[in-house]
Symmetry: D2
Subunit: 369 residues, 4 copies
């Protein structure tokens, strides 16, 4: 049922009619930093959740040339990083892709490296293409390959570079910058030496955390609000997704879903953002539902389409689209013979910690009827 | 050190100069729902937390006549509730008093009662004056007196009324409406019967939860994200504050502080908002500090002044003022012979759960030097 | 259904008949530190929980003269402490009163004080009579009065004394010594100075933790596995119990029950032992039930009787009795006009943490039919 | 420092000399279910933890023929299960191998299957040899191979069988039966149908939980006090151990250690018992330490020796030995060219939940000097 079907002319809602005396009263209130609640009550207490964003799809085919072109237009030492932001049409003011989540497509040329910094915002990365990319987080260097998922949690020193000999590496960034700015808690520091010294072997954490159900005995003392596992290699995640798919039918709304987690305690990878991999069988069409919280989806494999808030979006590998809060959504794998895999990151940890999760199945099952 | 002292013309920050080619590139990006990060990077990645609100004080003496006047201007059945909102000069757009917190002063005349509703937002109340006020939350009726603290958590049915025979009851509301709207998770329902039936005796939860250190054996199964104790009577809280004050010197920044909590597990009273009572000895002047998170402060007892972001605010009983995130602040009890007590509610549960807490002592100890 | 009604001559149970070849086999196994499971399987895998203890009541009237006499027989500097242990007839070997719980009645004369020590075991105290008793735990001194409940958790320095001018103070000790010895984790240290220096004011923690629902803001960083509140004054606990009794009918098995807890997080007061107060209305007779875990009960107020494992025990103030694990039990307040209050301590924290809790209502409601 | 070096003739310890009057007093106390604490105080409050068990090694070479012979001596339908118990020389009375832990070697012939049951005790299995073994736990069937680790938590229906066509399967059982009996909480039920129906595919949980850092989205609602992952395949665990070994030097006392855990939250696999894999580099000799808690160790790979409480035990693959609480212990891999791997299970979850963990490094580093 849409919000517009609700009637505000009922007891329990505000329905005061304006008049001169009231207008004078409102003016006087305004002079004292005050206002009358009933003038805004219905607007700020909506019947149903109201999203600020609209659904949108960013075609990688169209974005990629512009990303590449940025390497000709700006030097890394001037730009900081060469990133094409994905901006939701309704969230330009806060530089968000959907809700309070930011995303962008970043490129580095062979041999480039960016300086190290840290900040109050948290970041994650999804590797799209190229050879030789690496990230260093608090002294641990991770070598990156396509569809790897990487985190650089708030407060950790981090830097990126490419050790490739030719070509570019391209990845997608996801950050909670809009949220942390909204919560007035962001800050920024440049590393005093511009670059970090390595502390320990390359790819240490993926070696420490390899199989489900076994943990280094010391890992259980880890108490930071983010995962000690920094890189989640694609081959492991996809293998796990395939194994999961063999155990049963999965969710009617989402297919088979693996959530990236902190291996030490099963929590989301970071305090403010989570991420997951979702697999649709060949030809699978899911049922529609909606829930609070926003998602940014990247196509990791396959091709298909999604219907979001009644609008159809066709997608193929490396395309990115967003699902705004409380928007009905459903997915279809348009390849009958191969699976499709969607990577997404979201603000679910925020929604769940603040006890704001809410979910509904579509009464008709689908918006496409 | 203020944010303005930072230099953005360094490696690791964006410092691209505009030119025609870039402007054309930006235009093209805009057509595809995209933008160049370096055009906004420094703004969205500030060196220090940036608050959206300014410090402000609402004088109860000045507000009260306007609150009373609202009873002549609008009928409760039209206004829903007669509330004078406290609006931060920089947060009119989101109807916030500070940060993402809303507050207002509500009035009910003897014999009035409002209908029951519930919503995704959480609310708290601080009773200012009058006899006979009550609140019913999920079937439990609480009788309210001056300086009582009451919660009506998200999702609970709640309604208010006055059983007094003359005069008005006035209280302060605190809600997370701006936050829950920002997070796109608010919703609203009018009670199907307009009023709730009572379930159990009046003031049940303050009887179940009386002394620290003893819990009804069944209470330990409570697992909702808010306190089962709905009313925190002033006499108990103030007595506890006085007892605490006898145990030692308290915090140099805050005096003696009691935090209202869920008695079952010690958590904050609600998932998104916390509250506390703070006592300053006669004549006490605290040291200045700043931290992330916003507070709305109400003077429960005494008179004094606070310096917030370099600006002095004189206060006395029932005045309300706000402390924006990351603003230096310090308090002085201007009565040498009697204590002062400040009630405040805040977004600290949000800040802490999202791991965004940060705090600094003022390098000089005070802004008043 | 009693354990004896089960038939071991069924598939899934051991029913091997002895013969010479087997006896030779068993002898050979014995030589290699081995045995045949089927010779003991039915015994070590019983159909129902089997308690090691029997129900027992220690009459204070009878014990008191012997406790007093100990002051004439041994000097405190020789005895360490003058304590009459309460020994379960079936648990002499482990010095337990019931299960793995130890209890004793301790006496100190006016002006005596014992030296400070600490150990791996945890202790609690229930004050029975006398003026001037005190306990010092990790530098905090607590003044003790009748029916106060006091904890001295494992690893804390503690010492006791009497500052009375005449007469004796008598209290009941409860310790987990048998359990901690069984778990091979006990240890003992005499304080290097024999006595502790005070750190802070007398009765600090009952001042810090007074009312339910308010906590010193710093208390929330407490992370030890026991309560920071050391003394639970009787007047507070009983007042809370009376308040609770006015809210509704209580449990049919236990009446109204308050559980002593860590005020910071609602956990049991110590890692291995919990305690509670239980109130029976005038004339109340509870229904029978049984559960895993052992309790030591002391009559705090009133008179009545309990039926435990089919045996009747009449009790009055200061009597002590035990309820062994899995024994049916029910209580009757024999005073129609006044309430009865039972204090008890138990091993419930152990049972619950190890997921061994199990409970049954008596099929007939009572054993007295 | 050994316990015997402590002097009990000091203030704070009991040192009452016997005499006739006291003996009469003790007799009188005994008649009232009481005793004098000072007669046992020093014994029950030892200076250092006192273990009930002695170190012991069970040679698989010697045990195996007896295990095989049991198949000729008793029929499964009479024995329930054919198991040779490993009995600590000092724990025959409670059928324990060390502390309160039971272990045994179980054998099934090709084609045999045991009936399903469940009980209050928890069990784990370590597969030693043979083809075709399986376990069914609450409807999930697991196929077992050498060095696999399997859990059958308390309260779950479980049954075992062999689908091999020839030969026997042999595994080691580990149970907390002595502990659960000591805590008087054991119980036993035969499955009403003697066998379970399968619910879902074979080896479902190892498919659901494959890689560290990814979890089925629904798994996060799992709230039972044990792992939903039932079988931990050897190849995964050993691969993870090898990967861990490449990240750094490991512990000086234990080498590289992986702890089996509940993948959903990182907790120990069951509420009362944990397990781990420990790897010693070729030729590695660890430093000696001691701690509370008991371990049963099985050699998964390699050969070496351990010194436990001053006594040397030489071991090779499939041997089993125990390390009693508070016993100094150190390990040596006697093969300079290949690693050694020790599997062990222990009561550490009990020790840690009850806050009884304590650990000491040996002052000399080794007992072998």
């Amino acid at each position: 049922m849409s919000a517009t079907e609700h009637d505000d002319d009922v007891e329990g809602r505000a329905r005061v009619r304006d008049n001169d005396e009231l207008r004078e009263f409102y003016r006087e209130l305004g002079e004292h930093g005050a206002g009358a609640l009933w003038t805004v009550a219905n607007a700020i207490e909506p019947w149903e959740p109201v999203a600020h964003s609209v659904p949108y799809l960013w075609s990688y085919e169209k974005l990629r040339p512009m990303v590449v072109r940025s390497t000709e237009l700006v030097r890394p030492e001037d730009a900081g990083r060469r990133v094409v932001m994905l901006l939701n049409p309704r969230r330009h003011d806060v530089a968000a892709s959907v809700g309070w989540l930011y995303s962008g497509i970043q490129i580095m040329l062979a041999g480039e490296r960016a300086s190290a910094h840290r900040h109050g915002a948290s970041a994650l990365r999804w590797i799209i293409e190229g050879e030789g990319a690496y990230t260093i987080v608090d002294g641990e260097k991770a070598r990156l390959a396509g569809n790897d998922f990487v985190i650089t949690p708030h407060g950790t020193w981090h830097e990126h570079g490419s050790e490739g000999t030719s070509g570019a590496v391209i990845w997608q960034d996801g950050l909670d910058i809009p949220l942390v700015n909204a919560l007035e808690a962001n800050w920024y520091q440049v590393h005093p030496d511009l670059h970090q010294a390595l502390a320990g072997p390359i790819d240490r954490s993926p070696a420490e955390f390899l199989s489900a159900g076994v943990l280094p005995v010391d890992a259980r003392t880890w108490d930071r609000p983010y995962s000690p596992l920094l890189r989640y290699p694609w081959e492991r995640s996809y293998e796990a997704l395939l194994a999961l798919a063999r155990t049963g039918p999965g969710s009617e709304f989402d297919g088979h879903v693996l959530r990236y987690c902190n291996p030490v305690n099963g929590a989301d990878v970071m305090a403010t953002m989570g991420a997951q991999l979702q697999r649709l069988d060949g030809g699978q069409a899911t049922s529609a539902h909606r829930h609070t919280g926003n998602s940014m989806v990247t196509v990791a494999k396959g091709r298909g389409h999604s219907v979001i808030a009644g609008q159809r979006f066709d997608w193929k590998k490396d395309d990115v689209f967003c699902i705004p809060a409380w928007a009905w959504h459903e997915h279809v794998n348009d390849d009958a013979d191969d699976d499709a895999v969607l990577f997404s990151f979201d603000d679910r940890p925020v929604i769940q910690k603040l006890a704001l999760h809410r979910e509904q199945a579509h009464p008709e099952g689908t918006q496409q009827a």
